[in-house]
Symmetry: C2
Amino acid sequence: MTITIKDIANAAKVSTATVSRVLNGAGGYNEETKKKILQIAEELGYRRNEMARSLVKKSSNLIGIIMPSVSTIFYADIVNGIEKVAQKQGFSVILSHAGVKGNRLIHCLKMLEERKVDGLVIVSIPLMEDQIQAIESLSIPYVLLSTDTPNKQIPLIKVDDYEAAYAATKYLINHGHRKIGLAGVDYSDRVAGTPRIEGYKKALKDHGLSFSANDIKAGDYSFTAGKEALYAFRTEKSGITAVFCVSDEVALGIISAAYELGIKIPEDLSVIGYDNTRVAEMAVPPLTAIEQPFRLMGEKGCFKIIEAIQQKAAVKTEMLPFNIVERASVKHWKH
Amino acid sequence: MTITIKDIANAAKVSTATVSRVLNGAGGYNEETKKKILQIAEELGYRRNEMARSLVKKSSNLIGIIMPSVSTIFYADIVNGIEKVAQKQGFSVILSHAGVKGNRLIHCLKMLEERKVDGLVIVSIPLMEDQIQAIESLSIPYVLLSTDTPNKQIPLIKVDDYEAAYAATKYLINHGHRKIGLAGVDYSDRVAGTPRIEGYKKALKDHGLSFSANDIKAGDYSFTAGKEALYAFRTEKSGITAVFCVSDEVALGIISAAYELGIKIPEDLSVIGYDNTRVAEMAVPPLTAIEQPFRLMGEKGCFKIIEAIQQKAAVKTEMLPFNIVERASVKHWKH
DNA sequence: CTGAAAGCGCTTACAG
DNA sequence: CTGAAAGCGCTTACAG
């Protein structure tokens, strides 16, 4: 038998309106009745029904997350960040997985619309115009995290991949490297693919180094892609002395293959990773890597959404700073 | 302007009751009206309000997850598994983090009760009797994943830590090791601590090997704990030839420290990990480890909860099988 | 300061 | 096969 404000009203011999008022601290009742009602609520173990409340208030205090179904470690940090600030602000989070490439996005959207979420955060799914339309049609605040879209009006929070790739490459150049590879990148990925390639190329160019297409090894950001990349570099005798890896996992793959091939890191080959996930410090040698602030990304995203909900304002795009965490996988190259 | 069944009813010149019936496929209406209503709903872009529906049906099709606030990688797999089957069964998932040691559990519980979740899955938080009482008081199906409680009536799904530790230790013994360490374990952790210690001891004993308290290095399952453990073994000249690590991260810590100390793995020291997370295959050398089926755990947990909700039956405890994934960190010891 | 009443968007006996 | 009506558990003008 679940107990409602009606039960409290009966016990306190007041109307449900009054009960509602004191339970919500709406003001406009004397201390006596307040005390009585609060005490009875306590005694009866009353718990409010958020569904009923949301129904009349037309606001659910729910924020929806849509993310890919892959268990890459950094999603955990993003989600942690989101839920943490949601909780602090009195919101709850409803989570949905949109398949590996986000192909179930529309399905998730429908569910979240039916659940009447007040806001939406979409993690790491590259969006096309028709999907943007579907999202817009909900008419609620939303933000993209760690991804983007060709439509430049859309609010997003991420690190500038071009800049970060530029910085990583420059870091290697500053360490004396003149022949630098790029490993694990997906050419068709316009969010984490092409911008990083461009940043890499630009850094090379700005420092008077020539670029060779052979120095880029494509892949899917995975450990295996990293291993394959090094084997490829090896058989081609490419002569690279350093490699910019498009993820930490790719970097670990390079390190693993290097071990198999008897290539010493960083003595024979320097490696820089991307993301700075937990595996970076666990590598042997510990991995120098571009750090992305995933947790912060989640926190900011959620914070902005809640702000937008409460102020009925639009969310604004924000580029987050990255950072180079220096460990031991890059060495100064001596000519 | 959000559109409701009333709008559809008006447009179709029928009652909301009829609209509701066809939208729910309840039967008892002719094809004509059905077609008309469905078409109008489509045209108007109708989307049902789950809050209103839940309110009258007294069932939300919502399942709540409570988990610790730490971003250990395997939580992602568990949550993935849960949400996947929830989605398939028409349920949605609301996620809450209960702090590092689950100290905000009661807070989460209250929120989930207000949200009227139909079922509850609690991940990796060791529960005491008073917390169990709080959970029981919701009177909804629940299950614990990858954790347990002193109260043996409580439904849970996990791997048998004692058995797994026994198997890991035995595996090392079968590979010729006679002096085996245990690293990274928390003595005060009755779920992943003491049972693994006991399993380890028992395996030693069953194979006629003596046990020395010095061969156990306490820790918090972390990478750092692993490093410290190996340094301790080293300075004590303990003479171990293999070490059973209480997590993959501890194992990586051992490997990392070994590298610093010039100890070769597996030539000088064999290492076995626990969990078989993604880092296991990325280690150099690739890590042999006890595998826990995290994703399966999430799937089974969610499935059982939904079953319990629908059949109003209690969830039954299930122990999941573990597995030893052999890679290259353990070698046959020659005397 | 307090209550009666309407309403949020649905579902479901009960009649016909 | 279909509709009128009540009700799920709340909140909130509107009166007094």
